[in-house]
């Protein structure tokens, strides 16, 4: 198996239509269960520009998954508007692919790796020859060309998640949603997969929304980080990440700017846990706009 980082950069995976914008306006979601209705998301408004990679962080139980399921069209919003490329999201929209946290459960265990990647393409009406091409290319891009005929459950967790990523990429989406995709893989695999996501994102020019509870991961991956409050959720801050386009697990994570952002977002999340619901109410010991401490 080749490491995804070794994949030739000029390897052309898909002729890509590029990314589409995502707009979320006053999203509210209330779960009307058997008992008291639970307000998971209070009022979320943000926009993701075409081709942008945005990470969403927040304390656990902050409604991150709710937000993502609403974006994916899997869950109807209680109120508010969601739009993909200008058209409202009422059900799972075409041009959107999803990678879920539960890699072991999102792949069809009765299909081989290649069949798992191919099934959505079949449904989409992609011609057979082109399907074979896409399956082979995307599996090669995630470094899994040699296990195409295996069943998913014969692979390790990290490899299974790569299959899910290959399936999403082969689908040629304009928007890729990822819900804590690496929460259940080991730390080393996680670094590899993070780089894989950055590599694919840059190559394809698609819009990516990446939900995570890991602050370092959010900053390392994102061009922007949306910090959410605790439930009922609002956006606490929309943090720009000025770390440049090329990121490296060692250098970027050792960067002073990375450390500053990390401290800032960490503090925000801590404040969010204590129930702070707006930036004005937050007591930050390291203000966001402060210059990096000298000597750092």
């Amino acid at each position: 198996m080749t490491s995804p980082a070794d994949v030739a950069p000029d390897h052309d995976v898909v002729d890509h239509p590029g990314g589409a914008s995502l707009e979320v306006r006053h999203l509210r979601k209330v779960y009307a269960g058997r008992g008291e209705p639970v307000e998971a998301v209070a009022d979320l408004t943000f926009e993701v520009r075409p081709g942008e990679l945005v990470c969403v962080v927040g304390p656990s139980g902050a409604g991150k998954t709710t937000l993502l399921r609403c974006l994916a069209g899997l869950l109807p919003a209680t109120s508010g508007e969601l739009a993909l490329g200008g058209s409202p999201i009422t059900g799972p929209p075409p041009g959107m692919a999803v990678v879920l946290q539960e890699y072991g459960r999102s792949l069809f265990p009765w299909m081989s790796v290649a069949q798992n990647v191919e099934l959505p393409l079949k449904e989409k009406g992609v011609a057979k020859a082109r399907r074979a091409e896409l399956v082979a290319e995307t599996l090669a891009a995630v470094g899994l060309a040699d296990v195409a005929r295996s069943y998913p459950w014969q692979l390790s967790g990290g490899m299974q998640q790569r299959v899910a990523i290959a399936r999403a990429v082969a689908y040629e989406p304009q928007v890729l949603l990822m819900d804590e995709p690496f929460a259940a893989v080991d730390a080393q695999t996680r670094f590899e997969l993070e780089d894989l996501v950055r590599t694919l994102w840059k190559r394809l020019g698609i819009t990516v929304v990446f939900v995570t509870h890991d602050i370092d991961e959010a900053i390392y991956l994102g061009e922007r980080v949306l910090v959410l409050s605790a439930r009922p959720t609002v956006v606490l801050e929309d943090v720009e990440v000025g770390l440049g386009a090329d990121r490296d697990q060692l250098e970027t994570r050792g960067d002073a700017e990375f450390a500053r952002l990390r401290t800032h977002v960490y503090e925000l999340v801590q404040q969010a846990k204590q129930g702070v619901r707006s930036l004005a109410d937050a007591h930050l010991t390291h203000p966001a706009d402060a210059p990096p401490p000298p000597g750092a």
């Binding site: 069209g73 959107m96 069809f108």
Partner: protein, 267 residues
């Protein structure tokens, strides 16, 4: 070499007990003078002329056994189709489940053999009645297991199918039926044994041919060795059917064994 040994071992394990039982029966009954339990040697001896007499097309095998098995297969097939179709519908809809459950529980509680006299009134004593009896008896395990299988489908897989916009047909084919297939097979296995029982019972009330009919006829005419040979033949038919069943389901569920191991093995 070792493959050969493994095959020999599995053959020995599979056939060991049946051979032992037959041997004991053979030896213990060898000197039997009881009219009702004749020596096994006599039972086996009479089997040939009873069931496989020439010409084969007029033998009891063709005239009685084959029609019985065909009725069984027909009723079983109807039960599979109806059970899986209804099971998928009931398993997919909570409302339908709540609506149908009391009625299903009622019908399930009725032992199918008591329906034979009732069905005879509607369908006569011909093939239709017997096929209907077999189908009614077999449908329950298939139906109930399919419902469980469909209800037990992983919601993450359902979300995945929706997110990738799989249509109704593709979802049914690639997700629902495949995902529920382990439970469907369990139901189908139970249904097969019920089907064999009902195949015989449906012929015991009223019939003009059939394996069960023959056995009862032999018993009533005191042809005791022939009756015993019929019982043995019935057992053989059952074993053959379950072998075919195993071969088919092993192919369908090839993924399942490895999947379960990977889940329980604690990856």
């Amino acid at each position: 070499m070792s493959t050969l040994r493994r095959v020999a071992r599995s053959v020995l394990l599979t056939l060991g007990l049946p051979v032992a039982i037959l041997t004991v029966w053979w030896v213990a009954s060898a000197g039997s003078t009881s009219f009702y339990s004749p020596p096994l040697a006599e039972i086996v001896g009479t089997s040939r002329e009873t069931w496989f007499s020439a010409p084969l097309a007029e033998s009891r095998l063709a005239v009685d056994v084959v029609p019985s098995v065909l009725r069984l297969l027909a009723g079983y097939a109807v039960a599979l189709v109806v059970g899986v179709a209804l099971g998928v519908a009931v398993g997919s809809s909570r409302a339908l489940r709540a609506f149908l459950e009391p009625v299903l529980e009622f019908f399930r509680a009725i032992p199918p053999p008591v329906l034979v006299p009732v069905l005879m009134l509607f369908f006569g004593i011909g093939d239709t009645m017997k096929i209907v009896v077999i189908a009614i008896g077999c449908v329950w395990p298939v139906l109930l297991n399919t419902v469980e299988g469909v209800r037990g489908l992983d919601p993450v897989l359902r979300d995945t199918a929706r997110a990738y916009r799989l249509g109704r047909v593709a979802t049914l084919r690639h997700l629902v039926l495949r995902g529920a297939s382990p439970q469907i097979v369990t139901g189908a296995r139970q249904a097969l044994s019920i089907g064999i029982i009902l195949m015989v019972i449906s012929e015991m009330f009223a019939a003009k041919d059939g394996l069960g009919f023959s056995i009862v006829q032999f018993q009533r005419s005191f042809a005791i060795p022939e009756m015993w040979s019929g019982v043995l033949l019935l057992g053989v038919v059952g074993v053959l059917l379950s072998l075919v069943f195993r071969a088919v389901t092993d192919a369908v569920l090839r993924w399942y064994l490895g999947y379960r191991q990977s889940q329980h093995g604690g990856a």
